[in-house]
C-alpha cells in the first residue's frame, strides 16, 4: 500500500528481491489456505445436499457422479417420516417463539435501559448468567411440570422453553442499541405532548430497529435449530425438524438419504439468510465482547 516509488524505477536491491519473493510465496500460501478452508467447510455440506438426491445404492458408493432422484423426498413426506408435519411444527414453534420473544424483550430492554430498578444492573446480568446453567438442569423440572399439566409433546411447551433461551440474549442485544440512543430524542417527543409509551413506539423502536432485527435473526436461528429440549419434550405430534433427524436411525440401519433430505430442509432457510447472518447475528453475540 505504502508506495514510495516515484517516476524513476531504481534497480531492485537484493533485499527487495527477497521480499518480493517472500510476498509471492505468502500470497500462494494464502490462496492455498483459503482453498483448503473452503474445501473443508463447503464439501461436507455439499456432500450432504447431494446425498438427499441419491438412491440408497448411490448413498453407500463414493462415486462423485450419480443419477439424481427425488424418491427420497417422496419417501420423507410419506407416513414414516411426515416431513410436512415436521416442517409445520418447526414453523409453529419458531414463529410462536419470535412473536412472544421479540416484543417482550424489546419492552424489557427499554425498561432496563431507561428505568432504575432496585438492584440495578444485577438483574440483566443475572438473566444472562442463567444461560451458563446447563440445559439438562433446566429441563428436568420442566419435563415434570409439562408432564403434570399435560403439555408434553405440544408446541406450547417448546415455545415456552425456547423463550428461556432466547429472551435473555435478545434483551441484551436490543438494550445495547437503546443505551446508545440519546435521551433527548425521547424528551423532545414527550415535550411535544406524546406520552412516554408513544415516544417509545414512535421514536425509540425505529432507532433500535437494527438491534431488534439482530435479535430476531438470532432467535430464529437458535429456535429453528434447537434440538435438545425438543428431543426431551416431544415424542410424536410435535416433533420438530432437528429431532426428526434421529428418526432416520431405524432398526434396519441408518437411512442416510432421508437424514440428508431432512438436513437439507433444515439448512435451506439458513442458506437464504447466511449473508444477513454474517452481518447481523454475529455482531449481536459479540457486541459485548468487542467493546
Amino acid at each position: 500500500m505504502t508506495s514510495l516509488s516515484s517516476g524513476v524505477a531504481p534497480m531492485p536491491t537484493k533485499a527487495q528481491i527477497r521480499r518480493q519473493r517472500n510476498r509471492k510465496t505468502m500470497s500462494v500460501l494464502r490462496i492455498v489456505g483459503i482453498l483448503l478452508i473452503t474445501a473443508l467447510w463447503l464439501l461436507p455440506v455439499l456432500w450432504i445436499c447431494a446425498t438427499a438426491f441419491k438412491s440408497p445404492g448411490d448413498v453407500i458408493s463414493l462415486d462423485i457422479f450419480f443419477t439424481p432422484t427425488l424418491d427420497n423426498f417422496a419417501k420423507a413426506v410419506g407416513p414414516n417420516y411426515q416431513l410436512g408435519g415436521r416442517i409445520w411444527n418447526s414453523i409453529i414453534v419458531t414463529v410462536g417463539t419470535l412473536l412472544v420473544a421479540i416484543p417482550s424483550s424489546t419492552a424489557a430492554a427499554y425498561a432496563f435501559s431507561r428505568f432504575r430498578y432496585p438492584g440495578g444492573i444485577v438483574w440483566p446480568i443475572g438473566l444472562l448468567a442463567t444461560q451458563f446453567v446447563p440445559a439438562v438442569m433446566i429441563i428436568i423440572p420442566l419435563f415434570i411440570l409439562f408432564r403434570s399439566i399435560g403439555l408434553l409433546d405440544t408446541p406450547i411447551a417448546l415455545i415456552a422453553v425456547n423463550l428461556s433461551v432466547v429472551v435473555p440474549y435478545a434483551i441484551w442485544m436490543i438494550k445495547g442499541f437503546m443505551d446508545a440512543l440519546p435521551m433527548d430524542m425521547e424528551e423532545a417527543a414527550m415535550m411535544d405532548g406524546a406520552s412516554r409509551f408513544r415516544a417509545l413506539i414512535d421514536v425509540v423502536i425505529p432507532v433500535a430497529m437494527p438491534g431488534i432485527i439482530t435479535a430476531t435473526i438470532f432467535c430464529f436461528v437458535v429456535t429453528w435449530n434447537e434440538f435438545f429440549y425438543a428431543l426431551i419434550l416431544t415424542s410424536n405430534d410435535s416433533v420438530t425438524l432437528p429431532v426428526s433427524l434421529m428418526s432416520a436411525r431405524t432398526d434396519k440401519g441408518d437411512e442416510w438419504e432421508i437424514m440428508a433430505v431432512i438436513g437439507l430442509t433444515i439448512m435451506v432457510p439458513m442458506m437464504l439468510i447466511s449473508r444477513v447472518v454474517q452481518r447481523h447475528f454475529l455482531k449481536g453475540l459479540t457486541a459485548g465482547a468487542v467493546k
Binding site: 494464502r30 432496563f112 444472562l128 439438562v136 428431543l231 449473508r275 468487542v290
Partner: protein
C-alpha cells in the same frame, strides 16, 4: 405515576418468562437433588435424603468422574484448537474483497447449522466403508484407513473435538475479524516501517492488542464446550463405551434413560457450580469496569 406503571409493565412479560422458565426450574432442580427419586419407581417426589446424592457423586461414582475427565479433555482441546484455527482463518479472510466475503458466507453456514445436524452429518461422513470424509482421511493417512473412526477409543474423541472446531471456528473467526478491523492501523504501519516481518508484527503488535477479545473468546468457548451435548448425542452417543460421554451427556442419560431424577439433578448442580465460576469470571471481564 403513569411512568411507574410503565416501568413495571414493560418488564412484566420478561420477568414472567424468566421466573417460570429459568428461575423456577433452577430452584426446583436443587430441591430434586436433595431427594432419592427415580421416576420409574414413583411419579411423586421420593424421600428426602439431604446431601446423600452429592456424597454419592463425590465419593462413590467412578463413572461420573470419568465423564468429568472426558469433559476436561474435550473442553481443553476443543477450546485450544478452535481459538488457534479461527485466528488463522481470521488472518486469512479478514479482507473485504468479494472472494473473502463469499468464503465467509460459506463458513457461516456451518455455524448456522443445527448442532444436531452437524453431529449426524459427520456421523455419516465418518462412517466406515461409505463415509466420504473417512475415505479422504484413509487416503491421506493410510495408517487410519481401516480404523472405524467413531468406534475407536483413540480416534472418537479426536473426531468429536474436530467436528466441534468445524462447527465453532467460523463464529470465532468473525469475532476476530471484527476485532482485527477495530485495531488502530497506525500501530501496524509503524511496525512495517520499522521493517518488522509479518510474524513479528502479529505476535508483537497485533496479538497483545487482541488480549481482551481473546480472553473473552476463550472463556465463551470454554463455556460452550462444557455445555456441548447435541453432538455427543447425535454423533457418538457417548461411545465407544463411555469414552466420549461428557458430563452433560452423563446427566442426560441418568435423567432420561434411567429416570434417576434426584441423582441427575445433583450431577447437574455439580456441573452448574463449575459453570458458575466461569460465569463469574465472564461477567467480571465484561462488566468489571462499570461498577
Amino acid at each position: 405515576m403513569r411512568d411507574s406503571a410503565l416501568k413495571w409493565g414493560l418488564l412484566a412479560p420478561a420477568i414472567l418468562i424468566s421466573i417460570a422458565m429459568l428461575f423456577y426450574p433452577i430452584g426446583r432442580s436443587f430441591w430434586y437433588s436433595l431427594h432419592d427419586w427415580n421416576l420409574t419407581i414413583s411419579p411423586q417426589l421420593g424421600p428426602f435424603i439431604g446431601l446423600d446424592n452429592y456424597v454419592r457423586l463425590l465419593t462413590d461414582d467412578p463413572q461420573f468422574w470419568h465423564s468429568v475427565w472426558v469433559s476436561c479433555v474435550f473442553s481443553f482441546f476443543s477450546v485450544f484448537t478452535t481459538i488457534v484455527v479461527s485466528m488463522l482463518m481470521a488472518l486469512l479472510l479478514q479482507g473485504s474483497r468479494q472472494l473473502e466475503i463469499n468464503v465467509r458466507s460459506i463458513l457461516v453456514l456451518a455455524f448456522a447449522m443445527s448442532p444436531a445436524l452437524v453431529g449426524i452429518s459427520w456421523r455419516f461422513l465418518l462412517a466406515p466403508e461409505f463415509g466420504a470424509a473417512d475415505a479422504v482421511i484413509g487416503w491421506i493417512f493410510p495408517r487410519w484407513a481401516d480404523v472405524p473412526i467413531l468406534a475407536d477409543t483413540s480416534t472418537a474423541m479426536v473426531a468429536l473435538v474436530l467436528v466441534d472446531v468445524w462447527h465453532w471456528a467460523p463464529y470465532f473467526m468473525l469475532t476476530f475479524i471484527g476485532a482485527l478491523a477495530s485495531l488502530p492501523q497506525e500501530t501496524i504501519e509503524a511496525g512495517q516501517i520499522d521493517g518488522a516481518g509479518r510474524f513479528r508484527i502479529f505476535f508483537g503488535i497485533v496479538l497483545p492488542q487482541l488480549k481482551g477479545v481473546l480472553a473473552i473468546a476463550i472463556l465463551l468457548k470454554t463455556i460452550f464446550s462444557i455445555k456441548m451435548l447435541e453432538q455427543v448425542i447425535t454423533m457418538t452417543s457417548g461411545g465407544p463405551g463411555s469414552e466420549t460421554s461428557t458430563v452433560p451427556h452423563k446427566v442426560y442419560e441418568t435423567a432420561f434413560k434411567f429416570y434417576d431424577f434426584g441423582y441427575a439433578a445433583a450431577m447437574a448442580y455439580f456441573l452448574a457450580a463449575a459453570m458458575l465460576v466461569l460465569a463469574m469470571i465472564y461477567s467480571r471481564m465484561l462488566f468489571g469496569g462499570q461498577k
